[in-house]
Symmetry: C2
């Protein structure tokens, strides 16, 4: 793959570019003596009060008022009619798919560029991830390439479309809002409808992002959020399922609580369920974090605009701005090299990390991971090119918090 | 099944017995005005300090020093050479089985009487739970019935035993230490060895219990613990994998962190992994809880001996004491009716709960749940009888804490 671990003698030119990039990063981040993490959580609200109150109540586990409060706050913030909090974003995505009865005879269309959980959640259901290409503008699924690909690969049999080559049902379209940037979700929703696939949104990275004013996570029949430690808000580990469908919401609640039927003392379960609910302790943290989300979003926007300004003069890299018509939460701020250049990318990664500024490349393509090498895939020219171009830079919500006008 | 929800006109005799049981419970529990929960956590140690320190450090997610400390403390307490903390007990059990490459062609022998997670963990791997009977003494798997059953059903093909009827491999034996009472684990380990099955222990309920001086969770090739809110110690939600095998321990750590290969910035994954690690925030709580475990165990022993004493005179119910040769953690204290008697059991449940003392029956048999109705099973006379006899009574660790000698 990238071969980043291979020793490379960097060229003088690449070292010079790396120095300019580090200088630009330092201009924004300031001359911090400690290493600058890629993304660290920011606890400046009621975190301790809520967690303390939670501990004092004794209700730290899967039942408690903070879970309900957190779900209500997420509902208020996203506008999603129903919210079910889960222990991780991965488990939320797993249930989003399981709710649609996706299983071993199915394929789910997934962008080749995403965190591994996107494909793994598909695999947990027994279905096969089927990888499709991205576009450089949003870094998400490319609706144009997808449409052209589907025209060739999808065949209507009865009421559903099937993969002509594998014979499996094309059950769902699973776009990802990569690094927080909304993908072209309206066009993808349109394609999903035309090809009779469920639209399930992986909004793990994009809480607070919007496309044409509508929050990501509210376009799909179901959507998953994540509150892992590296996300814009965190519950330690956590996630949520969003849906507008009351029946799916009830099923989500049921499946995430071991499918236990409600009864004051009896233990009856009517399906294979999961122990996937968010503990109240973690929800308490989440409630305090959500209260600060508007400030975090503002801070990250400010950070993004500062980055955009300082990288403007550099011709070898550009700062990836939110796609037209969208508001990104800028979860992970990203630079793109003008063209795929592995030696330069490696040089940038090594030099920035060496200088105490944490950076990282995009994930390896899911389609290249050993467990997915035999999965079906569309041509992936843009995704393949992108991993030689993308580099994430420090994006913590605290960087510009103090610079916000009161 | 139990039909507990059906309205029953209780007999005068049953009401009288219920009154005696309530009087005995009140004698032990005292005249509390608030409802007495079945099992509530007890936070009287360093919980606040550790959790606050964790929040202050910013490390609340899957990496952090409390996770390491918690694993070390569990290692010290159980003597298990390797400990891998997980987000739930269910996920720990799932990985315990996955580590042994248990999959769709396999069956796992499971006691019919357990919480649903025991069978679900088997189902997550694609394998089929195969239900076997219990004994009334330990409430766990009966080695005598199992041996006699295996003689009929198991057939050696090559190096492994198979189910003669289904053709599937008998891959593992999964005993459970029900309500904290150690099952006859030595005899079961012996049977597992003779029938070349992996012994995987569901020790979710039995942290602190011992059989012939050896802690439960250290007999199997792998074992799962749980720290759910209702367990003897809690992390909100949490669990742990125990093993003496360094290779399995490394694999457990790998599989529970999305099978990510170690690298300062690259994202490569070499297997379908899971987001199953315990967040540091929850581990912080766990560290404080573990420090108090010896006191909790002593308190629960005292509670058990008080219960045993007050129920001694009653002839219709007996208090279930730890099996000979074992030390139980008395996770859930349990009464057993002299014989299966659903009207009396229902009367006891209704009257105790009505009087503000929470009680519950044993779980419905796993073999009777709709998703497992087609699973293979041994004759289950004792388990079937048991669910008409067992009732759990309040068991929180705080009840006798103050009564312990300093």
């Amino acid at each position: 793959m990238l071969g980043i671990e291979t020793f490379i003698n960097h060229t003088v030119k690449d070292i010079t570019i790396a120095s300019s990039v580090i200088a630009a990063l330092r201009e924004v981040l300031g001359p911090q003596s400690n290493p600058v993490p890629l993304h660290e959580p920011c606890f400046r609200g009621q975190e301790w009060d809520y967690v303390q109150e939670c501990l004092g109540s004794g209700w730290v586990s899967s039942v408690g008022r903070y879970v309900e409060k957190f779900e209500k706050q997420l509902h208020d913030f996203t506008g999603s009619p129903f919210v079910v909090a889960t222990g991780t974003g991965t488990s939320a995505l797993h249930i989003c798919l399981a709710l649609r009865n996706i299983g071993p005879q199915d394929e789910v269309l997934v962008p080749a560029l995403s965190f591994v959980a996107t494909a793994n959640a598909v695999a947990y259901t027994g279905a096969t991830p089927h990888f499709v290409d991205i576009e450089m503008d949003s870094l998400g699924m490319c609706p144009v390439a997808l449409e052209s690909y589907l025209r060739g690969v999808a065949v209507l049999r009865g009421r559903k479309f099937f993969n002509r080559k594998t014979g499996r049902r094309l059950a769902a379209l699973l776009p990802v809002h990569v690094f927080g940037h909304p993908c072209r979700i309206e066009a993808l929703a349109d394609l999903a409808a035309r090809y009779r696939m469920d639209l399930v949104e992986d909004a793990a990275e994009s809480l607070g992002s919007k496309s044409r004013g509508k929050p990501t996570g509210t376009f799909g029949v179901t959507a998953a959020l994540s509150f892992n430690g590296n996300k814009i808000i965190t519950t330690g580990g956590g996630g949520a399922i969003l849906t507008a469908d009351p029946v799916l919401a009830a099923q989500a609640r049921h499946l995430t609580t071991q499918a236990k039927l409600t009864h004051p003392w009896e233990y009856r379960h009517d399906a294979i369920g999961y122990n996937y609910r968010l503990p109240n302790l973690n929800a308490a943290l989440g409630c305090a974090q959500l209260e600060q989300l508007p400030a975090f979003l503002a801070s990250k926007h400010k950070l993004a605009s500062r980055y955009a300004r300082v990288f403007e003069p550099l011709k070898e890299v550009r700062f990836v701005s939110e796609p037209t018509g969208t508001q990104s939460n800028y979860w992970l701020c990203t630079l793109a090299l003008e063209k795929s250049n592995l030696p330069l990318l490696t040089c940038l990664l090594e030099e920035t990390n060496k200088s105490g500024i944490m950076t990282r490349p995009a994930w390896n393509l899911l389609s290249e991971l050993p467990m997915y090498r035999c999965s079906p895939r569309a041509p992936l020219p843009v995704a393949t090119d992108a991993i030689g171009r993308l580099i994430n830079i420090p994006s913590s919500p605290h960087h510009c918090l103090d610079a916000l006008s009161p």
